[in-house]
């Protein structure tokens, strides 16, 4: 019950934020030059047609009215209709959520697979050459622009070795894994230095805790101590880092989708902004924001799974 109440209160807190996000997106698009109907018609429309189409998409109403009707409709699951594609925004965006989420989750999982062993080694060999190498390697890794990394991976794996496709989404789960390997790896290589740094730091902190010495005094092996005692306690900061970086990850996904031709939300966003497809941009903004907020919520909830103390606070 306590748990449910917590989730509920968090969800309630999300409402004003979501409202603000949508409001800002709305105002922003109002300020931008370019009329979607004109763009759609190639600037060749007569006044009657313009008026008719504006009416059809409700663009003749004041922004405030449109904003609130958007809110009202959105609450009923209706995000409007794309001006360019003439399809419900919920459908257009919905089709792409899976792809973006797949890329990001894939990247995050790869990042954990890369980062976890490195962080464990670095922490266990603290201040030894291996540790320094991992730390400095991480700094170099963190300085690599994702788009550049992506190009290097294309050059190496796509052209040089020919192991992986350099674009597209693929078919079926394993097709996705196969096609999205390089995008996923790009995200992973971008993310893992941050993860290694935070995990390593957290583990070093934990390793200085009394209970770790107690564990050693019990005659436990370093490996057991690492996995049974250190890692779990070090997870919270790492989860925090992951969730804080989710916004960055989404921005990164835009570039990664762009470079690897993945039909996800990022590429849709770039295109929709280009064609001033307001309903799609608004829908995407809402979905992006929800995504970030739910990720943060999930991170908070996972703290509870890791550490019961959080519940009490």
């Amino acid at each position: 019950m306590q748990f449910l109440a917590y989730i509920l209160s968090r969800l309630v807190q999300m409402v004003p934020v979501l409202f603000l996000v949508v409001l800002i997106a709305f105002l922003a698009m109002e300020l931008v030059p370019g009329d979607p109907i004109m763009l759609m018609l190639g600037g060749r429309a007569n006044e009657t047609m313009l008026a008719a189409l504006h009416a059809e998409f409700g663009l003749d109403r004041p922004a405030v009215t449109r904003f609130f009707s958007f809110i009202v409709n959105a609450l009923q699951g209706d995000l409007g209709t794309s001006i360019i594609q003439r399809q419900p925004v919920s459908v257009i965006v919905g089709e792409r959520i899976e792809k973006t989420v797949f890329v990001i989750v894939y990247g995050a999982v790869l990042a954990v697979l890369v980062a976890l062993p490195l962080a464990v080694i670095a922490a266990m060999k603290h201040d030894r050459p291996v540790d320094h190498a991992i730390r400095i390697g991480g700094m170099v890794g963190m300085s690599m622009p994702p788009f550049w990394l992506a190009l290097l991976l294309i050059l190496l794996f796509g052209l040089g070795l020919g192991w992986f496709p350099i674009g597209g989404y693929g078919e079926g789960f394993f097709g996705h894994l196969w096609h999205l390997f390089l995008p996923g790896l790009t995200i992973a290589l971008f993310l893992s230095p941050i993860l290694v740094a935070s995990l390593r730091a957290a583990m070093l902190d934990v390793m200085g805790e009394d209970y770790i010495e107690v564990a050693r005094s019990k005659g436990l092996s370093p490996r057991r101590i690492m996995f049974k005692h250190v890692l779990r306690n070090a997870l919270i900061p790492a989860i925090t880092v992951l969730s804080i970086n989710i916004g960055w990850l989404l921005s990164g996904a835009v570039i990664v989708e762009y470079v690897f031709s993945i039909p996800g939300m990022g590429s849709l966003l770039v295109r929709s902004v280009g064609s001033r497809d307001y309903p799609v941009i608004q829908g995407l903004t809402v979905v992006f924001a929800l995504f970030v907020m739910l990720t943060n919520l999930a991170a908070d909830l996972s703290y509870m799974l890791v550490d019961r103390r959080v519940l009490r606070k």
Binding site: D127, E209, D210, Y211, E213, V214, A215, R216, S217, K218, G219, L220, S221, R224, K228, H229, R232, N233, V306, D307, R308, R309, R312
Partner: protein, 332 residues
């Protein structure tokens, strides 16, 4: 196995060094102690005197780097622990020598169940199954006086009070019935009312299992009440060691005297407390001789210059003072 005359634990000439940014310090310098089975050795000294380091050195828990045990022997039941492999040493830690730490609030992993932590050593070193370990955990908790242990084994550390946690830590140490218990200031972090309970518990357990105990404390009163033998540490060295009775009746080192004078109940009369003059020692810049010399009222010029070894001045009574005779004079 052990006759009473053969010590269960004998530390000889132990030197533990730490490399710091500006130099190397010896946290333990030429430490000698002995503990027999069933006996309690108290180690007293101010904070920073190397008591805790000694406990960790015995268990080889000194983090390396920066720490290093550079000389000496730790003979446990005739075996030099320093010569064991890491795996063998882990076995010793898990089965024969246990340690109780100062702060119970931080001695337990916050994200794991108390019961699991208590019996973890058992499952690792005795291959105990889950159910068996759980039962043993309940039993251990019962023995250290935790009410309704059946339900409490499942709880997490944040749900327990400090006193209860220290009982849990002791239960953890008692798992597998060790021969030697290193208790590193087990009561310091607790309320005064709880302290006595915990000490009583330790003594009761010791009596029941006939284990040897090393009780580290900065509190002379605690040591006086509980220990058979006492060793006084200063700047990483043993200054004086003797039976509790002998030490308190006739201290043979100026530092011991100073210590006693600075503690309320110890001076007996409690008329006035005399703090030890001067600064605590700077381990980085020690003179070759007696480290206490700069603060010592009885010191002679050569005190600071020649290294002074422990010498037996009465049966079982050792002191590292050049001028023990001046103390008796000063005391009377």
């Amino acid at each position: 196995m052990n006759s009473n005359n053969n010590p269960l634990l004998e530390v000889r000439g132990l030197v533990t060094e730490f490399s710091l940014e500006h130099g190397v310090i010896a946290a333990n310098a030429d430490v000698h102690i002995r503990v027999r089975a069933g006996e309690t050795l108290g180690i007293v000294g101010e904070s920073g005197s190397g008591k805790s380091v000694l406990c960790r050195a015995i268990l080889r828990l000194i983090p390396s780097p920066p720490g290093l045990i550079s000389a000496g022997e730790v003979l446990f039941d005739g075996t030099d622990l320093l010569a064991l492999s890491e795996a063998e040493m882990r076995r010793v830690r898990g089965t024969r020598i246990k340690m109780v730490f100062q702060n119970p609030m931080t001695s337990l992993n916050p994200v794991r169940r108390i019961g699991d932590q208590i019996t973890e050593g058992l499952s690792v070193h005795y291959g105990m199954g889950k159910a068996e370990a759980r039962a043993e955990g309940v039993e251990l908790l019962r023995r250290v006086g935790i009410p309704s242990p059946e339900t409490r084994v499942r709880e997490y550390p944040h749900q327990w009070s400090g006193g209860m946690l220290q009982r849990a830590v002791i239960a953890m140490a008692m798992a597998g019935e060790p021969q030697l218990l290193l208790a590193d200031e087990p009561t310091t972090a607790l309320d005064v009312t709880i302290q006595d309970q915990i000490l009583a518990l330790l003594l009761e357990l010791q009596e029941r299992t006939h284990m040897a105990m090393l009780l580290v404390s900065h509190d002379l009163a605690v040591v006086a009440e509980t220990c058979d033998q006492v060793a006084v540490m200063y700047a990483g060295r043993i200054m004086e060691s003797a039976s509790t009775k002998a030490l308190f009746e006739a201290p043979m080192h100026p530092y011991t005297v100073g210590l006693m004078n600075s503690i309320p109940d110890m001076a007996g009369t409690a008329a006035r407390l005399v703090p030890i003059p001067g600064q605590p020692p700077d381990l980085l810049h020690l003179a070759p001789g007696c480290p206490f010399a700069p603060r010592c009222v009885h010191a002679s010029p050569d005190c600071a210059e020649t290294p002074i070894a422990l010498s037996e001045i009465a049966p079982g009574h050792h002191t590292a003072c050049l001028h023990p005779e001046r103390i008796s004079a000063g005391a009377s």
